[in-house]
Point group: C2
Chain length 108, copies 2
């Protein structure tokens, strides 16, 4: 069961474009001020840097991720989440065979 | 003056990915039920098909567009809008020198 919609939000109209468009997201702010982003990663292997801790929730497609200090790629599919500590870096890869990884990024 | 944020909306968490990711958008629904999308087009020349008429509003970057029946490429920059009739096709191009064209698509 994945989160298909999020209501009562303010959406930033300008997208965040990372890695030449391999990752595109739009920032949203909930009524209580909480900031999240909704985004998509196309087939690629990308290294992300975190500021605040993040929880990545898959809403469509799938990816594999590798957390700091680990050599293991773990799959994350629809309805699954994984947590990333703050101030670190982690890797996400989407295989060429996959269409994309659609996610909600929850901060803090 | 461009629209940097839109409040009181429900956002679809799954992105719309067109043309191998050269165009990525997220659908939003306003409180009154009006549907729009916020998206970005990366450097490319793309042909879009319309169902409902569309108004394209630039919120960052720039593009050129060519409407049906015209041979003229017209530039559209931040704060500018252009209208496209329903049930037709039109072209948008973003030059390699541009970063991207960020837009709000208003329907109807």
């Amino acid at each position: 069961m994945s989160t298909t919609q999020i209501g009562g939000v303010t959406v930033n109209t300008q997208a965040n474009v990372y890695f030449d468009g391999k990752c595109v997201s739009h920032g949203i702010t909930l009524a209580d001020g909480t900031k999240k982003s909704v985004g998509v990663i196309l087939p690629a292997t990308l290294t992300f840097n975190t500021g605040a801790p993040e929880i990545m929730e898959c809403v469509a497609g799938a990816c594999e991720y590798k957390l700091p200090g680990s050599d293991v790629w773990v799959k994350s599919g629809v309805g699954e989440r994984f947590s990333v500590p703050g101030n670190t870096r982690f890797e996400i890869r989407v295989s060429e065979g996959e269409t994309a990884y659609h996610y909600i990024c929850h901060f803090g």
